[in-house]
Amino acid sequence: MADLDSEFGFLAASAKRSIDLLRAYPEQTSIKADERGSALRGHIEYTLAGVESKLQDAAVNFPAATPSEQAEYVKRARLLNSLVRFMHRSVPWVSQAATPSLALGALYFIDELGERICGMRLDAVPNAADEYSTERWPFQPLFKDLGLAVQSGPRPVVLNFPRLESASHLLLPIYAHEVGHTAVWETAILQDVIDAHSSESAFSAAFNKARDDTAASAKISQREAGYILAWRLNAWTTEMLCDQCAIQALGPSYLYAFASFLLSESWDEPGERHPPTCVRVAHMLDYLAGSGWSASVETDIPAISSWLKDQVAATSAKQPDAATSFLLAAMHEMRPTIREHTAKQLGASVYLPSEFAPEASVISELTRYDTLPAQRHDGGPLDRRAIILSAWLSVLEADDQPATLANALGDVRTQAFFAKAIEMSALLAAWSQP
């Protein structure tokens, strides 16, 4: 009895200290209400209040509880401690929200992507980490355990990026993919795409066959194999949706950023969560060809364009397992449905070659004379999507060979120049708003 009492007291004190420590941290930063990081801060405080409330309830009920109930309270108190400790991972996010390590131009670009792809202003907090990834509404999975209601208002979204790439502004289009994850999360787009195909008998039959073959070869139950296959189908489709959101929102600059960063890392290997890179590139190239983009940019960089196409064409499928074969076929089959749904999601934000062409000539003229390409001759702001695509084309045209996709990221000065242009263009756009 005494042991449980002491243990509970220790765990409650430990949790309180951990909560106080985390609660004090955002207060030391300069996050203002309704500004970057404020939704994240609110989310942290809300979740901490939920933990605290659970601890208080336990403290009130513990003395009169039976020994077995007390043992359960001790177990829960330890779990709550681990939840708070888990929440301490938000400390660098809060710090980055208060003093972002990305240039203003990059931050404005990411905010605009949120509005274009998700149709709403996100509380996007870029976080210097070791890879590009997204943490949407990070502690929401704890709500159920803590008995918390779902919050309304802006969603906190932490966008991780590789710390060493903070000045690689040519990689900004990759954030469009990451923002796409929030669009998939916040809407029924994934389910709609899957439903559109799973209702077809041929698709269902292919799924069932892949499930049964996998169960037989892996010596697992059909139920387990079906669960894993459905999970992978969701994950792969999500990635394809995010790629499609990005390339429809930005045009070829997403392909160049993607190729620059990811092609060296993987090519034809299927992942658990991700389709093979070659499949993703093939889908992007197919979209660019079908939407008129290829014709408008490939003439400027014929060698790089041909190289990308040849790479895809030369990739012969290795003998994949039954599940991967099904997923590869499914991705191909779902291509039009994915495009149709992302186009609906983006609406007027789908970027068209006809929008780029007139601005491309202005940006080209300004950069030819080493002048910041932020403002049109009529005084209006140049489109930030046109600036980033022009930035890519200007560096690729200067040396049209595949290695330039990588070398371009080494030119910090040029990238800072275009990031400043994005910053000034966003400022001008905000200035022009009534």
Binding site: L104, Y369, T371, L372, F417, M424, L427
Partner: protein, 201 residues
Amino acid sequence: MEDRLVITPMLDRDRQVGAASVDLRLSSDFLIARRAEGSGIDPAESDERAISSRQERITVPFGERFWLHPQQFALGSTLEFLRMPPHLGAYVVGRSSWGRIGLIVATAIMVQPGYRGTLTLELINEGETPIALYPGLRVAQLAVHALTATTAFPYEVAAKYVSAIGPEAPKLAWDADEVATMKALHNRLNKVQPPSTPVAN
């Protein structure tokens, strides 16, 4: 475009273009000294990295402020990017309202023909009270003048600061050769020539 003066972005042409000058705004980028770093700046010993390491770059978002304290020195820059054609020169000077509270915005005020970039502003508070500087405010003005002839030596030919997009740290090391020349002159003028060979008795 070759012969045109470009000032971009121009947020409010009506307010910025005056009778004989163009108002320029403050950008959100600043360089401030890290006072604890290093002993001092000596052009003969400093390289660019050494000077940069003594300065901290900070970004103040639009709508927020940067406090410049009495006698504090900071580098800022114009929000506008300038492209000077080869037949125009300019001077950047403070605006009188700011001057009356002690703000000096530029000490090296000449803008050469052929210059391209934002202008680095040498911000000094000579007043008695701290001054809040908000990025985007019009703190400086550019007075442009025509040359009697197009220069044969535009700035871009031997430029130190090319296509700047924010305050740039000084490149004193570029003048290190002149310091070496001055030291050589000192030796020639002041040192007693040592005997080249001992004189045998």
